[in-house]
């Protein structure tokens, strides 16, 4: 294409080409003149005739230039330059507009990047759209299946194109080379067909196949992620065949997965894959529910058929295992389990399970914030357009077309949008860090992956979208000027009708109402959660657990006792105890019991929650106890004792005045029980795992009398020292107890509680932040409209004051006007806020969707903001000197 190249070169040779054209045209005119003179004209006549024949010289040159290069680029560049000059002249306006947009766009980008990772981004595998997760519901826990069940499902090649199993991603100890300092890595136990079914190729070496996962403990192999290989081994191919220590297991590296593949859990990128047969514990047991399944659907098999086939498969499987169980309650619960088909193309995410909905709400909130920001900028632009009426009228009357003026106005909005999104991307980075701070460590890190093109595209699209949204209206409005009227002196004020601006302010107020009301609801909900009685007082107790080496042969009870004694002797520590399950640590333990004399266990045994605790446990956490706490006399040889909670008494011993006189038995074979366990105390209902938990009957037993724990209990320390000091003290003691023992999850109970309600805290905090933002934007809008209105009505106010109106009347008039706008906004906003509240109802705790406090507060706050924003314009109006105002008129 010679034309394109020619046009491109023309872009840079404008001045020279202008010279050449002049030369060409002059020559043409000269030759014409000569021609006319040869035909007998005088010099002057020839010159005039040549001009006439040639037509308009300037016009021809202009037409020529318009064709040169890419005319639209040049005029666009000109518009941009013009807009830049204009914006530089009004820095206040520019800063306000760019800042509003930056906040809106930044909030959207931050939330969207999280939303994208958890909800939208397809796994980088072959045909992700075919993937589903097979999710177990009902019964105990959720999602996971046992190895025998997985094998039955994976064997159904008539239903699936392949099914892989994973146990999720866990942070474990990692030693890249023998003798290296221990580090941590993210390990995923997977089935042998994992890579094959997902369609992942090796970067080097080979990946697992079905033969690599047959015998428990028999396949010490590892596949590394590309990132780990690059970061830890400098992408050295010699890593193949070498040995790495993962979770104390020596594993041989056989391959590195293709770059970009980081496992199937979006918020936890896997670094090392290990065949799941290498997992410890009873991997082949039908009672160990530990594997998550991802399956590839066959496009030709209808989902309905798969679902029906899975129902049959599950029922037969459960019947084979639990069909003979005598405990009917247990059997019913077990047989009630189902397999569900869930979407799997985005991966398996625990975070998505309970954060998906709050995240969608946040996305809606930030969309509202962006709309409010756009409204604000539109309002600012209208004000600016009104102030430039004269200039625009002048340019129109000098022959500028309206299209051209609209283009120029849009260039200005485009510049604002560009600056706003650039600043917004910066704010988003900050916002993402702030949000990450709310996520508990076990939630993973959904932000760890590099900036995504989809997120960037989203930002650009919303920026352009908002530029059009806030720019087009004002651009059309401010250029619709009658040049003659616009130029008349004093007409400026009347030219920009303020009705549109007032409507925009009302809209802004309505947006604020929704955002502030939601902030109020989430805030109130958080308060309600915080004020729930958890049954224990000492939330500043520090808890941690010991992580024992995998091949630990010693008795962990002894080790823990030793550590607890050492800590108890440390100054500043009031009491030390331990418990399993720990508080807010998501552990669980249950047992089947009989309570002699109780109706409830007269015909069959009952399941209760069980907790193993050390002496002084209730004192350490600050739980009120009737009867006695466990002490050092409750040894293995002493009579069996138990403490029960109030829910236990309500269910098993209703109306019993002295539960301490009763006993229960862990021998559930007959109604009267076997070996006695005396109840020695009743403790208040303690919410063990969550604020919203419904407390079930629970039996506490001394850890010294029950040595069937497979996991060391959480250690609890009540102290005035900060967690870091306790951690240091524990670290000092650990070498005396045994080598290779590590401390994990050290935090105060309050931090654990915070982590357990991070969604609510995030919603309340971000909701509050967005609410304040919306209020600020509305205040700016109100202030702008009120001051503009006052400037316009200065003459009228002057007359009123001259006729005897007092200052208070003037102030009242202005404030009344502001209240009118807010009232309109409230009327518009409340139904919207109500609908929004209904939509987020399931996320609220302990309050109604129509919460009087939140809604009443919203109205109050907005009225206060309106009065605040209108106060300065009102005072200015009241200080108008009537004489001067009238003279000006």
């Amino acid at each position: 294409m010679p034309g394109i190249w020619m046009r491109i070169t023309e872009l840079f040779r404008g001045a020279r080409l202008d010279g050449e054209l002049d030369e060409e045209v002059n020559l043409h005119l000269q030759m014409m003149e000569e021609d006319f003179r040869r035909r007998g004209m005088s010099a002057a006549e020839a010159k005039a005739a040549a001009r006439r024949e040639f037509g308009g010289v300037t016009h021809a040159k202009e037409a020529y230039r318009d064709q040169r290069g890419f005319p639209w680029i040049e005029s666009f560049a000109k518009d941009i330059r013009y807009a830049m000059r204009g914006l530089r002249r009004s820095p206040g306006f520019t800063a306000a507009a760019v800042l509003s947009l930056a906040l809106g766009i930044g909030a959207n980008t931050a939330i969207f990047s999280l939303f994208h990772t958890l909800m939208l981004r397809m796994l980088p595998v072959a045909h992700p759209e075919q993937l589903v997760s097979i999710y177990r519901t009902g019964g105990w826990g959720s999602g996971t299946v046992s190895l025998p069940l997985y094998r039955e499902i994976a064997g159904r090649m008539d239903l699936f194109g392949g099914a892989v199993a994973t146990n999720g991603v866990n942070k474990v100890r990692f030693t890249p080379r023998p003798g290296d300092r221990g580090e941590y890595t993210q390990r995923e136990y997977v089935s042998g067909n994992y890579f094959q079914v997902l369609g992942i190729q090796p970067a080097i070496g080979r990946l697992f196949n079905a033969g690599d996962n047959r015998v428990p403990g028999g396949h010490p192999l590892a596949v590394l992620s590309y990132d780990l290989w690059r970061n830890h081994f400098g992408a050295d191919p010699a890593v193949l065949g070498g040995t790495v220590l993962v979770d104390e297991q020596p594993l041989m590296v056989i391959g590195v997965a293709a770059p970009g593949f980081r496992g199937v859990v979006p918020e936890r990128p896997t670094e090392v894959w290990v065949p799941f047969m290498m997992s410890h514990g009873q991997v082949t047991s039908p009672n160990m529910w530990w594997l998550q399944i991802m399956a590839r659907m066959r496009p030709e098999v209808p989902r309905q058929r798969v679902r029906a086939a899975l129902d049959v498969l599950m029922q037969q499987h459960l019947k084979a295992i639990y069909g003979e169980t005598h405990d009917t309650g247990f059997r019913e619960r077990a047989m009630g389990q189902r397999l569900e088909i869930r979407a799997g193309s985005v991966g398996l995410s625990m975070l998505r399970e309970h954060f998906g909905k709050p995240l969608s709400v946040l996305l809606a909130l930030v969309a509202l914030v962006l709309l409010a920001a756009c409204t604000n900028v539109a309002n600012l632009l209208l004000a600016r357009g009104a102030a430039r009426q004269k200039e625009i009228a002048l340019r129109l009357s000098l022959g500028a077309t309206r299209a051209r003026l609209v283009r120029q106005a849009l260039a200005e909005t485009l510049l604002i949008a560009a600056a706003g999104s650039a600043a917004g991307i910066g704010l988003a980075a900050w916002g993402v860090r702030a949000i990450s701070g709310f996520l508990p460590e076990e939630a993973g890190n959904p932000f760890s992956s590099a900036p995504d093109l989809a997120v960037l595209a989203f930002t650009i699209v919303i920026s352009l979208g908002s530029a059009l949204l806030f720019g087009l209206g004002p651009a059309l409005r401010s250029t619709s000027v009658n040049p003659a009227a616009g130029l008349r002196s004093g007409a400026v004020d009347r030219a920009g009708r303020p009705a549109l601006r007032r409507a925009l302010v009302v809209t802004q107020v309505a947006f604020s109402v929704v955002l502030v009301a939601l902030a109020g609801l989430f805030g109130h909900s958080l308060l309600a959660m915080r004020s729930v009685d958890l049954g224990f007082r000492n939330q500043s107790v520090i808890a941690f657990s010991l992580e024992l080496p995998r091949l630990w042969k010693g008795d962990f009870h002894q080790a823990e006792d030793q550590l607890m004694n050492m800590l108890a002797a440390t100054p500043g520590i009031y009491s030390v105890s331990c418990a399993f399950p720990g508080l807010f640590s998501n552990g669980s333990s249950s047992s089947s019991i009989r309570v002699p004399g109780s109706e409830r266990t007269a015909t069959e045994a009952a399941d209760i929650d069980l907790a193993y605790v050390a002496p002084r446990y209730f004192e350490t956490i600050g739980a009120a106890l009737k009867g006695r706490d466990f002490d050092r006399t409750d040894t293995a040889n002493a009579p069996q004792v138990a403490v029960v909670n109030e829910a236990f008494v309500r269910e098993f011993l209703p109306g019993e005045a002295h539960p301490e006189s009763r006993w229960l038995s862990f021998d559930d074979s007959k109604p009267e029980g076997g070996e006695r366990t005396s109840i020695v105390g009743v403790v208040r209902d303690i919410r063990q795992n969550g604020i919203q938990e419904k407390v079930a009957p629970r039996v506490y037993v001394p850890v010294a009398q029950h040595h069937d724990l497979t996991w060391p209990p959480d250690i609890l320390v009540r102290t005035v020292s900060p967690p870091a000091a306790v951690q240091a003290a524990v670290r000092r003691e650990l070498p005396h107890i045994g080598s290779g023992i590590a401390v994990t999850d050290l935090a105060t109970i309050r931090q654990r509680i915070d982590n357990s309600i991070f969604e609510t805290r995030l919603l309340a905090t971000l909701g509050g932040f967005f609410g304040v933002l919306a209020l600020l934007l509305a205040a700016v809008g109100l202030y702008g409209v009120m001051s503009y209105g006052m400037a316009k009505r200065a003459g009228e106010i002057g007359i009123r004051m001259a006729l005897g109106a007092r200052r208070a009347d003037v102030v009242g008039m202005v404030l009344g006007d502001a209240l009118l706008l807010v009232a309109a906004g409230l009327i518009l906003g409340f139904p919207l806020a109500w609908a929004a509240a209904r939509a987020v109802h399931s996320l609220l705790f302990g309050i109604d969707a129509v919460d009087p406090l939140a809604f009443g507060g919203t109205g109050g706050v907005l009225i206060a903001v309106a009065l605040g924003a209108a106060f300065f314009p009102a005072r200015r109006a009241a200080s108008i000197d009537p004489m001067r105002a009238l003279r000006h008129e």
């Binding site: 020559l27 043409h28 030759m31 040639f54």
Partner: protein, 123 residues
């Protein structure tokens, strides 16, 4: 289709240039007469039309640029008959193909219009 310019009624009536036909005139002229500078080209066009065309000679230059962008003609600076620097335009191979194509199209248009004009006569 053909418009007359009545505002020049004191002079001999001339025909305005039909939209898009100037390109063909330029190309055809360059194809037969060889390289020309702007004035020469205007003169030739006027002469061939028998002085019946109302050519605003200034409009020639944007048209020349347009043809150059399309790759149908090319230009270079040279020396005119009386030793003055001038820009000469010549037709390219693509331009010649274009002339053939447009000439054929034009002939067809004329033929069609001709039938309509005669229709009125035979009725």
């Amino acid at each position: 289709m053909v418009t007359y310019s009545f505002w020049m009624s004191t002079r001999e009536t001339k025909t305005d240039i039909l939209q898009g036909t100037l390109d063909l005139m330029v190309l055809r002229t360059l194809a037969t007469m060889g390289p020309q500078h702007g004035f020469g080209l205007a003169q030739r066009i006027q002469r061939i039309s028998g002085g019946a065309l109302d050519l605003n000679q200034g409009t020639l230059y944007p048209a020349l640029l347009r043809l150059e962008h399309r790759g149908w003609i090319r230009s270079r600076w040279g020396v005119s008959g009386n030793n003055r620097r001038a820009k000469f335009y010549e037709i390219t191979a693509a331009g010649r193909r274009q002339v053939e194509k447009e000439s054929a199209e034009w002939a067809r248009t004329v033929e069609i219009m001709d039938r309509f004009v005669r229709l009125a006569e035979t009725e």
